[in-house]
Symmetry: C2
Subunit: 150 residues, 2 copies
DNA sequence: TTTCTCACTTACCTTTACGTAAACGGAAGG
DNA sequence: CCTTCCGTTTACGTAAAGGTAAGTGAGAAA
């Protein structure tokens, strides 16, 4: 149990850590996936012997990875993306580069935002049409009568 | 040249058609991809002999396919998605189902919208931080001084 | 007629993002 | 001591979405 590595934190109290299984449960991933993200260089958790030990920042990165996946990015894109989040140790030269990357991402995300919004209005239109159609037929719904507000 | 299939339209004038190469150029796809979408049942263009002939509706479907891809959906998801757009010949039973599908998609898209928006604000924050950092260093930008408005 | 250009099919290849199995290690508990 | 649980590595498998090559055909142009 007792060893010195328990208090490796400036703030004086031991930081909470996570096992791979915990994170897998929390984010709905498999161990394989999380390890794969590490293989691809998106994560680099500490080790206690051979066992992976994740800290608060690893967990945050994992959350970003998941969001990136939900948005349809590839692991490679997500990797670049992640580098934008830890600019803390960057040199001035790097920062210009990172800012360019950030702005490109922003532009892409705005396009995606527009796509999502347009698709949303189209689908709510379709929903409305179907609903009106069913209503005209008197064949009205048994399912919940939830509308489609933006 | 002259054959009867040129006037297959109710409206009296010949509808404009597209060759596969045209569509590929227009949407920035390869022939292979377009044919692949057909293999997967997302498109079913007419044929003139062995040659594919796309009409207005095929073209519209292709546009939807591209948008779906930009949003990160798989071809299978896009296929379901497409079926929502031609409810015209559907029976009442189908319509309930389609409406359910539409509502599921809507819910998913709203989540995606939230993800995109959050990522956007985070990245604009990062952009601002970098910009301020560079400004403090006097090492200010040579690149365009475009801001990051929402 | 020969040569382009565009299109077609068939078929194997590649990349991404994991799944899955085999075999092993260490700690905890009955 | 043996089992169980959690983790580890190595390595082959696989589904999705196309790339790429080989060989064919048909119409237009030189």
């Amino acid at each position: 149990m007792g060893d010195a590595a328990r208090l490796r934190d400036d703030s004086g109290y031991p930081e909470r850590t996570y096992a791979i299984g915990e994170l897998a449960d929390e984010f709905g991933l498999t161990l394989r996936s999380i390890r794969h993200y590490e293989d691809e260089g998106l994560l680099s958790p500490g080790r206690e012997g051979t066992v992976r030990v994740y800290d608060r920042r690893d967990r945050a990165r994992l959350a970003l990875i998941c969001r990136g996946k939900r948005l349809g990015f590839s692991l490679t894109e997500i990797k670049e993306f992640l580098s934008l989040y830890d600019t803390d140790g960057a040199q001035v030269g790097q920062m210009r580069y990172l800012r360019r990357m950030a702005r490109e991402r922003i532009a892409a995300l705005r396009r995606q935002l527009a796509d999502v919004q347009q698709t949303l209005t189209e689908l709510t239109d379709i929903d409305d049409q179907i609903t009106r159609h069913l209503r005209r037929q008197g064949a009205d719904d048994a399912t919940n009568e939830e509308g489609s507000r933006s």
